[in-house]
Symmetry: C2
Subunit: 316 residues, 2 copies
């Protein structure tokens, strides 16, 4: 019936996505406790901070302190996000894992608004990043196409443009002697549907049959988990997601912002369908409840509210 | 790639599902205004009330008054739910549409807890309902298998049991000279996954290739819209859903209860995938916002929070 993977790999985005958007400043100690709890669930990669300008993103003003405070456990990677060279150079000074990535936004308008750089300028910037990665022996893993499914400024992003940006990422890597692990399509503003997943993943597969594809999905319009399912059917086995659905704050009237798809809801669906995640769902649900206590308002995750009985039902 | 229907049909469940679970008594006038607003969206069937014991379900104590107060518009059916003969006889005295249905719960434990009747007793009860329908010239449309995907008391409900209950519904109809429009599978407590949708719909299709199937889905564990998508792929074109995701109250700590899948999120996904619903999404979003004002707390629907720009993006 489909090509469901046997195992999926999850990059947990909750701490970074969640704590950068909250209006109230979250206690640094609580951020660290949350990250440390997530590291006990079986998640193998946790995005902890953004290396961004604290004047633009006040929630990340303690990023360096968070990075220095985490008590690490083995076999977990603790990552951070940068959007420019300054952020990357900062990451290199801190004790978290620096995992090289290259990133291009498919919508030029969004690119300028989000990073201050046109697509053309971003491509040049990625060359600089690749040079820094080489200089510091940073492994380069994934290329990212942001706003791959649409943009609030430009509307629908053409499939051709997504293919072109993917080609650009692969060329950038090749000219620097780097083999990417694959390419992530990011539904940055939550425009995707199961059909657009199939169309865009299909277009990349037509051109590069062996290219590994990852998905970064936001649940802005309620289709997030359905989009993940559509991708699972096509054998996609790499997802970003966010514990409790952290990130964005649908219940506080932020304009349309919503978090990543919820990690524990994704894990629940996968486990029930026989797909392994390596994650202990019970522990992850505890983390989701902790996230709600930390931010002090309801978060959109569903499984954490479904009750222990429900979780246990399959075992009866 | 799939067998997506060109058009789907939606039974709106919001007023009944939503107002029966709220702890605060909702003003009768507001209930009626909400139902009247829903009737202006293009929805063709709206479930308005439950004919149940007000001592057990205080939120429905004004059901008769609601039923008598609605100003009807043409081409919309205004329905209500009964769980026993007493409720059915009450429905026949009121000015709403009485659409005949027969209902069996696949989990015996759930059946007893929800209706006080075993499965065997329920089958007898359905014979009585069919006799009343005949006597009052009530058209009989759908058979319903409740808890078709699992039960909080019994755990997973075997596929064979769902097939058996479907067979029972079809036999009950046949022995009364009734041809059902089809059979609804109800995920009463939200245990379903896309895979279990495929398995159960597949099992019914194997036995009855031409049987029309409807789905009543609750979004208890975040898979609701993904489940709907899995069913759409199999050509299912009949869904229950609930404006704003009304029903259950995930943000008030009700034990695991959650509403139906959200009508406007379902409509959004369908429209974006080229599937018609006959519903004006903008008007429906206004109803969802009205629902939040009426219940006085956040509801889980996503599209209503995604902003006008997002809704309009496709048109650019």
């Amino acid at each position: 019936m489909s090509d469901l993977p046997r195992v999926i790999h999850i990059h947990e985005e909750g701490p970074r996505e969640g704590f950068q958007i909250e209006k109230a400043q979250i206690d640094t100690r609580l951020k660290v406790e949350f990250i440390e709890a997530l590291a006990e669930t079986g998640l193998r990669q946790i995005d902890c901070v953004s290396y961004v300008n604290p004047e633009r993103v006040p929630g990340m003003k303690d990023a360096d302190e968070v990075a220095r405070s985490i008590k690490r456990v083995p076999n977990v990677r603790y990552t951070g996000l940068w959007l420019n060279k300054k952020g990357l150079l900062r990451a290199l000074q801190l004790p978290l894992d620096v995992v090289g990535a290259i990133r291009i936004t498919a919508s030029n308008t969004f690119s300028v608004k989000n990073t201050g750089m046109t697509i053309e300028r971003t491509i040049e910037e990625q060359r600089d990043w690749l040079a820094i990665y080489r200089e510091h022996n940073v492994p380069v893993e994934w290329g990212y196409v942001m706003t791959a499914f649409g943009c609030n400024f430009e509307g629908e992003v053409p499939i051709d443009q997504v293919v072109k940006m993917t080609e650009t990422l692969l060329s950038l890597a090749a000219e620097n002697g780097v083999t990417l692990r694959g390419v992530y399509l990011a539904d940055t503003v939550g425009h995707g549907t199961p059909l657009s997943m199939e169309q865009r993943i299909g277009a990349l597969r037509d051109k590069w049959p062996d290219l590994r594809i990852g998905l970064h999905l936001h649940d802005t319009r309620g289709t997030g988990i359905a989009n993940a399912y559509a991708a699972l059917r096509l054998g996609v086995d790499q997802f970003d997601s966010s514990c409790a659905g952290l990130g964005g704050c649908p219940f506080a009237g932020h304009k349309g912002a919503a978090g990543n798809i919820c990690t524990e809801d994704l894990v629940y669906m996968c486990h029930e369908m026989g797909i392994e995640t390596g994650v202990d769902l019970g522990r992850l649900v505890e983390c989701a409840r902790m996230a709600e206590r930390i931010v002090g308002h309801p978060l959109p995750g569903k499984v954490m509210r479904a009750g222990k009985d429900a979780l246990a039902s399959r075992k009866r």
